[in-house]
């Protein structure tokens, strides 16, 4: 369970988001510039709210009244960035292994888990490829593998389909939906595309000018 109550002043409007996300996919939809990415960055601890709190499975990650702020590296919240943010100086396997290296997982176990994750996502043959040589769909899988291999306590996806061309998007949507349904942690799927709700017919939020509302 991911709970949040976040407030801050942005340039054009004030941001207020209160809600919770249970295990499984929760869609957050709203037009671009509405504050979707801000919400994800606040949850991940990449920016600090002016006031508010974040708790994940009962653990307080942010609480401005008690001056609690767990740095992003210790939150165990994985993010799939809009442009995937793959490390260009590492190959595919090293990208996926990165979070395990951060957790000081021994080399042998690291390699085994990376290989298993790559195979699960059907990109086992790309282990030694440079990330700059990959197609959009392949990049997305590498980014997903990198996020999932660490077994995060929550997963945040920032417009995961926006960086793909239309043809690839159609191809990937179904796959991504199947994959994400297997991830049994609070998963926020942020999208400006109203079609995202058809993909994940569960709980959903709408965000507009910094105000988050629960959808029926």
């Amino acid at each position: 369970m991911l709970q949040f109550d976040l407030h801050m002043e942005l340039r054009e409007f004030s941001f207020n988001a209160t809600g919770e996300a249970a295990n499984g996919v929760t869609v957050v939809e709203g037009p671009s510039g509405a504050g979707k990415t801000t919400l994800l960055r606040l949850l991940a601890g990449l920016i600090r709210p002016k006031a508010g709190a974040v708790a994940l499975d009962g653990r307080t990650l942010t609480d401005t009244t008690r001056n609690v702020f767990v740095p992003p590296a210790q939150r165990n919240i994985a993010i799939l960035f809009q442009e995937y943010a793959l490390f260009p100086h590492f190959d595919v396997a090293a990208n996926v292994a990165y979070g395990l290296r951060a957790r000081n997982v021994p080399r042998a176990e690291r390699e085994e888990r990376v290989m298993r994750e790559l195979q699960r996502l059907d990109i086992g043959t790309l282990a030694r490829a440079r990330v700059t040589e990959l197609s959009g769909g392949q990049r997305q899988r590498v980014a997903l593998a990198r996020a999932l291999v660490v077994k995060p306590a929550a997963l945040l996806l920032d417009e995961p389909l926006a960086a793909l061309d239309v043809a690839t998007r159609k191809l990937v949507r179904g796959e991504l939906a199947t994959l994400l349904r297997q991830v049994n942690v609070p998963t926020l799927f942020v999208s400006h595309d109203p079609g995202a709700r058809q993909l994940f017919p569960g709980p959903a939020f709408h965000i507009e000018r910094g105000t988050l509302t629960q959808l029926p």
Binding site: R41, A44, L46, P71, P72, A73, Q74, R75, N76, I77, A78, I79, F81, E83, A85, F87, P88, H89, Y98, G99, R101, A102, R103, R130, V131, T132, R146, A147, V150
Partner: protein
């Protein structure tokens, strides 16, 4: 046609005097010059001091460049300008300023003297003069390199569990490496050629503060033209290596 002519004139103007130095070189002179104590000590001193000032520059300049690239603090434009200042301040003025600050009778002179340190007219003074005039070249380049690193990659590293120091070491530095190396090479070359600030602040003492450029000057003044020419050619060869190195690192892209 006029463009080609103008371009050719400037290229020739740069190339001909430098190439001309090589024609003044007699094969016998090279060996004879390199066997003199004055040449050997200048060469040794230049190597020690330039790598000393480079080490200080990288050690202190890297955090400074990062703060200038990423920090958002009041007075940043001011600090930015201060860092650039030594590039435009005449070296002789820099040398005088260092002397008045750290010399025996300078502002910090009495304090340093109490600690038993005399800075001016020593090898330490050479390193200080070089760091003063050369470090901005590194800081500028490193700052530009850090600015060019996509901050989303640093955010991705943090969200995957790497703390700020490891993110800096594994993501930021490797991606900024061409700019860091290029800046270090340029700054080293500037230190190697340092003359004005060194002679003002550190003097021209053989084995203590007489680096290669100072030795060129002294030998020309004292009528030892062949030694001056040989040392000049050595400096030109170093410069050539630097120019080639900077051009190759600038063309190499990460990833």
């Amino acid at each position: 046609m006029a463009v080609v002519l103008a371009a050719a004139i400037l290229v020739a103007f740069i190339l001909l005097p430098l190439a001309g130095l090589f024609f003044h070189l007699q094969p016998g002179d090279i060996i004879a010059a390199l066997q003199t104590a004055v040449a050997q000590e200048a060469l040794r001193l230049s190597i020690i001091t330039t790598f000393g000032s480079l080490a200080i520059t990288v050690l202190l300049g890297t955090p400074l460049a990062y703060v200038l690239a990423r920090g958002n603090f009041p007075g940043r434009p001011f600090v930015d300008a201060i860092v650039d200042l030594p590039i435009v301040v005449p070296p002789a003025v820099a040398g005088l300023a260092l002397l008045l600050a750290f010399g025996r009778n300078g502002t910090f002179g009495p304090l340093l003297l109490k600690l038993g340190i005399t800075v001016s007219f020593s090898t330490v003074a050479v390193i200080m003069a070089q760091t003063f005039v050369a470090s901005p070249f590194y800081v500028r380049s490193a700052r530009a390199g850090f600015i060019a690193v996509d901050r989303t990659l640093e955010a991705a590293s943090a969200s995957l569990g790497m703390g700020p120091l490891r993110t800096f070491a594994f993501i930021t530095v490797p991606l900024a490496a061409p700019a860091l190396i290029g800046g270090a090479v340029l700054s080293w070359a500037r230190a190697l050629g340092e003359f004005g600030a060194t002679i003002m602040f550190a003097g021209n003492l053989q084995g203590v503060s007489q680096t290669l450029p100072l030795a060129v000057y002294l030998n020309l003044e004292s009528g030892n033209l062949p030694i001056a020419v040989v040392l000049s050619v050595i400096l030109i060869l170093f410069s050539l290596i630097v120019v080639i190195a900077v051009h190759t690192t600038a063309e190499r892209k990460p990833g």
